[in-house]
């Protein structure tokens, strides 16, 4: 079988769920070979083995962490030259897409971003993308070079397939050009204890209609074990950090359930959430465009509806 490279997405060896999804998808296409950049490969090994990595290629050159993504792309290109994979799968986040972009140029290969599904086809992987704010679904494939595909969170349900991969250290050489932009300061984001927005099964989002008080949004989210999101209006007003914005210029999410409270449903917001499986809205205005999308809507004041609903959910769950 051919090798499929999977770039491991992790925080100091703690493997993200998206990597389990990528490994699951990679198994449809060939033998998954995990590429691990940074510290913590031994911590990551059990998770990589659980989802079927046949081998782990570890790159630990410290320079890989200091200079943004150009060196990582360079390293991955060197791995690809050695392994000659039949496809390369990378998570669709800002860093992943930038690595993929550079890799596509280096390998003179086609790139597909934001795949929501990948299947094996006759001439290589066939991807599914949701485009134009979710109004169209397209199937695409790469016709030249090594297919490079960035895959969105939740594109597959992780399926375990135990292996015991060997770890192979790989030495990379990093050019001076790749070292020209540097991170001079980094403040880690505080953990909220809630699920990651792009990975969550349920999201409760608040907009301008919260009037700046996200308390009812957070409480309702917590009763459901949900992540919290926000509209750009809420973010621009400084009510919630930008990292939680849902929409065209925020996160695109596709959870099982999306609850929009005090959000009108502008096209740029819809672009980020309208592929959610089930949609609920709470809005004072019966004419709000968000109601065109909903499976269930409440015309009412979120400050009244949400606290009562939170109480009821908590009661039923206990």
């Amino acid at each position: 079988m051919s090798n499929v490279l999977v770039l491991v997405d992790h925080a100091a060896g703690a493997v993200r769920k998206t990597t389990a999804e990528l490994l699951t998808i990679a198994r449809r296409l060939g033998d998954p070979v995990a590429v691990f950049i940074g510290e913590g490969v031994s911590e990551a090994l059990p998770a990589l083995g659980q989802y079927g990595a046949v081998k782990v290629i570890a790159l630990s050159n410290p320079e890989l962490g200091q200079f943004l993504v150009a060196p990582k792309a360079e390293a991955l290109a060197q791995v690809a030259a050695k392994v000659e994979p039949s496809a390369i799968l990378i998570s669709s986040n800002a860093e992943g897409k930038e690595i993929a972009a550079r890799l596509a140029v280096k390998l003179d290969s086609g790139l597909i971003t934001d795949a929501v599904d990948v299947e094996a086809g006759d001439g290589g992987p066939v991807t599914t993308q949701s485009v134009f704010a979710g109004n169209f679904t397209v199937q695409a494939k790469v016709t030249h070079g090594t297919p490079i595909i960035t895959v969105k969170p939740n594109a597959a349900t992780p399926e375990a397939a135990q292996t015991s991969p060997e770890v192979e250290e790989f030495d990379v050489t990093i050019s001076d050009t790749a070292k020209t932009a540097k991170i001079v300061e980094s403040k880690p984001r505080e953990a909220t204890g809630r699920p990651e927005l792009t990975e969550a099964a349920i999201i409760v989002s608040g907009g301008r209609g919260t009037g700046g008080d996200f308390g009812p949004i957070e409480a309702f989210a917590d009763s459901l074990g949900a992540a919290v999101g926000a509209s750009r209006a809420a973010v621009d007003s400084g009510w919630y950090p930008h990292a939680y914005q849902v929409g065209q210029t925020g996160k695109t999410v596709s959870p099982q359930l999306y609850v929009a409270a005090g959000i009108s449903g502008a096209i740029q917001h819809r672009a980020g959430m309208q592929t959610s499986k089930t949609i609920i809205a709470i809005n004072k205005d019966p004419e709000a465009p968000i109601f065109e999308l909903v499976d269930f809507g409440v015309v009412g004041d979120l400050h009244k509806v949400l606290p009562t609903a939170t109480e009821e959910v908590t009661k039923r769950k206990s």
């Binding site: 020209t180 930008h242 499976d295």
Partner: protein, 263 residues
């Protein structure tokens, strides 16, 4: 300092957007289009950097690759205050993928000898957000991407960006490729004076030959990706909507959650 803004012409997201049935490419000619909204932030950044420099030799050029109507994207940039425009126009470009587009842009940028190249964070149609990194790769220039705060002092460009896991400050030295997010600024509206002045500003139209590129290096023939099928999303069926005038809204909401197994 020579600043070039890469600005894309895209189908209007609030109007009809569709694919051409013959080749599954985006219909750009038969629909309303405009300067990609997110590139307005890039134009604004370029203008602010130029104005902050206060130097007489600062110049902002808007560069677009696209069909005939894409001249409108250049025009909008000029109306906002850019000094000059370049439109790369050639029938062979239709159907280009991101890799091919980045090749055309890189060739044009090399010809323009840009010190600072400013991109938007992503187009509002393809929205891949990959072209800035591809161009940086081709030009061998550093890239600092997704800036939500940008300052240029002398040769040093500094940006702040809020990522998924951290808020970072990144530095690079000119010449450099930059992309900015919609958090970066508030794009200005063209003034009446700006609209009038734009009519007199120089716009060059370049063909592939002007960039020493051939038709087989771009367009559908060398797009390394192919769309094999396009399906319109079925319209959502109307859901249940209740009105909370007697305080029953919460109970009905929770009942819906329970029936649909979200509890």
């Amino acid at each position: 300092m020579k600043i070039v803004v890469c600005a894309k012409f895209v189908p209007d997201a609030t109007a009809d957007r569709r694919f051409r049935s013959e080749d599954n490419t985006v219909d750009r000619a038969g629909v309303d289009g405009l300067l990609s909204e997110l590139d307005e932030y890039a134009v604004e950044t370029a203008l602010t950097v130029k104005e902050a420099g206060g130097s007489e030799d600062g110049e902002v050029t808007v560069l677009t690759v696209g069909p005939e109507q894409a001249a409108d994207a250049v025009k909008k940039g000029l109306q906002m205050g850019a000094d000059a425009g370049v439109h790369v126009l050639d029938d062979a470009i239709h159907g280009s993928d991101a890799v091919a587009t980045s090749l055309i842009l890189a060739k044009a940028l090399a010809k323009l000898e840009a010190d600072l190249v400013v991109f938007g964070m992503g187009s509002t149609d393809g929205g891949m957000g990959v072209v800035p990194a591809m161009v940086s790769e081709r030009l061998g220039l550093p890239a600092v991407t997704l800036g939500s705060e940008v300052t240029v002092e002398g040769q040093t460009v500094r940006i702040r960006r809020d990522g998924d896991t951290a808020s970072e400050t990144i530095e690079g030295t000119l010449p450099l490729v930059l992309s900015v997010s919609d958090q970066a600024n508030e794009p200005r509206y063209p003034s009446f004076k700006g609209i009038m002045a734009a009519k007199k500003k120089p716009v060059e139209t370049w063909s592939l030959a002007d960039l020493e590129l051939t038709a087989d290096q771009v367009g559908g023939s060398s797009a390394w990706t192919e769309v094999v099928e396009v399906t319109a999303r079925p319209a959502r069926t109307a859901g249940t909507i209740v009105t909370d005038d007697d305080g029953s809204g919460a109970a009905e909401l929770v009942e819906f959650l329970s029936t649909n197994k979200f509890l």
